[in-house]
Symmetry: C2
Subunit: 193 residues, 2 copies
């Protein structure tokens, strides 16, 4: 593919420069299409899943939790890293139960999100979840999470007023807003509410 | 604030575990609200800016570029890291010129995005830009970028079909879609098109 030839950066060599419990950082030497050599530093990430849990009473379940890197309590959709051996769907079933105490009889994959293309290969898989049922699992140790269900209109207000800033959550809510307000769009996706 | 007490993770100690040209990685020991000690690994990032450039003929300027961490050619809104001494607005003026050859007479800050709250403090500032004028700057060395202007309807199709997956771009396009299709929303933001 000619576009590939025009754009692609070819790996010449590389090393892992940090291996932590969570973060795995690499530095590669690459050759750019114009022949110049450069360095690329990036994180290899196992991927994550995020879900829009839609209740029978017509609310989206958001969760409030402290995020150490941002030093803020944030309002987010339930989400989490994909564990070894899990696929994105299994991962989100588990996270939904751990973080909200629900399961979803109806789950639909909506799309993929690249969180920070400049320095990470992380992909977040976005799911819609409805026909919820109680499915309590034990919380992860050290996870302090409070559920905050709200109508989509309230959640969108928080997006536009800057009270919701998490990227995967913002994207999930924009999808949810369209799913809930555009019948044709919803039908095309095969989602019943 | 009682919520803070219930959620906050207190830093006990910490160290920088990797310092590269681009990435700066830290590992802190923290005390969770329930008294348990834990480790947090995260990246300190200078922040970034992203812009929705809207042309006089009614198109959004997207750019195509290779992203080494994802090993993909991606379709994105113009964006870039904030350089030392720059504020977000100055940063996006520069990036817009470097990546598209345009300046924007009208620029409006829309909101903030936390890209990956699990392991980075990165904030991306989202701007609307219109009344564009030619403003060619030299490209950054090693940046191979092709402009791809398109109507918002086409860009949204690419979001829904999975051809646009970059988080900041997806969020910017959802905002643009509402700005362009909802007059009341647009007026509230003080944007003229």
């Amino acid at each position: 593919m000619s576009l590939d030839k025009e754009f692609k950066e070819v790996r010449l060599s590389g090393e892992q420069v940090f291996s932590g419990d969570l973060l795995h950082v690499y530095r590669d030497e690459v050759q750019l299409p114009d022949g110049i050599k450069s360095k690329r530093e990036y994180i290899k990430h196992p991927g994550a899943s995020v879900i829009i849990p839609y209740t029978k009473s017509g609310e989206i379940i958001l969760i409030r939790q402290y995020r150490y890197p941002t030093q803020k309590i944030m309002l987010e959709l339930p989400a989490g890293k994909i564990d070894p051996g899990e696929n994105p769907k299994e991962s989100i079933d588990r996270e939904l139960a751990e973080e909200t105490g629900y399961g979803a009889h109806f789950i639909k994959k909506l799309g993929k999100i690249h969180s920070c293309v400049g320095y990470s290969d992380e992909i977040v898989y976005l799911f819609w979840g409805s026909s919820l049922y109680e499915n309590n699992l034990e919380e992860d140790e050290g996870e302090n999470i409070v559920k905050e269900p709200m109508p989509i209109e309230e959640a969108m207000q928080k997006v536009f007023q800057g009270q919701i800033t998490d990227a995967k959550t913002t994207i999930g809510l924009f999808w949810a807003d369209r799913i809930l307000h555009n019948e044709k769009f919803r039908e095309k996706l095969g989602i019943e509410i």
